[in-house]
Symmetry: C2
Subunit: 208 residues, 2 copies
């Protein structure tokens, strides 16, 4: 309702999103957040009911913007050929490799959750991951129209894994012994290569 209180709330959210992405929940102290946001220490408890509530909120908006961002292009994919659609999907998945934008920050927050998910995160996944996984499922379904549901679901996870291994281990892959360069050209090549492997891998399943 009131304006001035919203700006501190926003300052906290911005700082928290960056710090949580950088160091995770445990690795980020309230004092670090308020220092970056230049607000008083008690402001977090006042506006978010403590660190938990703040994290919950950060996680919530990250999840929302991410799925919206993906599902917004779901329609476009349907008008393409299955190969082109899958290629576009892979390209979008590898996008975080490029920069330190909002998208890659959100991905990084989720990465912190993969080892030992918060209850908050578990619920978000159970509720909101279904449409996203369904999108991936629809993509692979076009390559295996006669496959059973389990195969399609596994194929969807499998597809996501091929992209996420590069996104997740970006920083390690950049160093030795792999020393992967990650400029726009390289990411484009990577997208094309992976897409090709995926398409080739899926196609024989229903032609054999």
């Amino acid at each position: 309702m009131t304006r001035p209180s919203e700006v501190t709330r926003d300052r906290i959210m911005r700082a928290a999103e960056r710090l949580f992405a950088e160091s995770g929940y445990d690795g980020t102290s309230i004092r670090a957040i308020v220092a970056k946001a230049k607000v008083n220490q008690a402001a977090i408890n006042y506006h978010f009911d403590g660190k938990d509530g703040l994290y919950r909120e950060v996680l919530r908006v990250a999840f929302r913007t991410l799925t919206e961002h993906q599902l917004a292009h779901a329609e476009e994919l349907k008008s393409m050929s299955r190969e082109e659609a899958l290629s576009q999907f892979v390209r979008r998945q590898l996008q975080p490799l490029l920069g330190r934008d909002e998208y890659s920050r959100h991905m990084r927050i989720f990465n912190w959750e993969t080892v030992q998910p918060t209850t908050v995160f578990r619920n978000l996944v159970a509720e909101e991951a279904a449409p996203f996984l369904g999108l991936a499922g629809d993509l692979v379904r076009r390559f295996m129209p006669d496959a059973d549901q389990r195969t399609v679901t596994v194929a969807a996870v499998w597809l996501l894994g091929q992209c996420s291994v590069f996104v997740r281990n970006r920083e390690q892959l950049a160093g030795p012994p792999v020393s992967l360069v990650l400029d726009e050209e390289a990411v484009e090549w990577l997208s094309a290569t992976i897409s090709h492997w995926v398409v080739s891998g899926l196609r024989p399943l229903h032609t054999n």
Copy 2:
């Protein structure tokens, strides 16, 4: 050299390995370790020079046993057909899906490191991951003998990613909306399916 001190050292190592795997470095307190190991609190500082030193040691043996476990079967793979070798490799990668054995504990410790690697871990990877990645590279090389080095390296990472997505997200995949069952039969089927996709994906690269 002296015997009795070795048993407390070992008790600490066992407890620490389990707790670090469960909750990560930050999430595991020295007091929790000594409680589980039933030793005095100061024992960790005496035997390992503090929490850092203990973690370093746990990480070291985990890495060693893991790579030894993999490289021990590297020779066997060479006598198989490329398809069979790759299938065996995938099967081995998916092994942690089954139980809470030592192998999956070690994998879990490494998973904690993927988001923000410790210096200790970075060094271990830089030093000792090369042979393991080389093994994966050799496997895919047999499917693309004429490919350049970058393509082979990326293919090796790509291969590992297809397995690790299931290992890493095991617990989440077990719940909704995926609800993946993970008994021996299911893991066997998963290995076969992924192997098939990988083989089909790689093969056309040099036949086209």
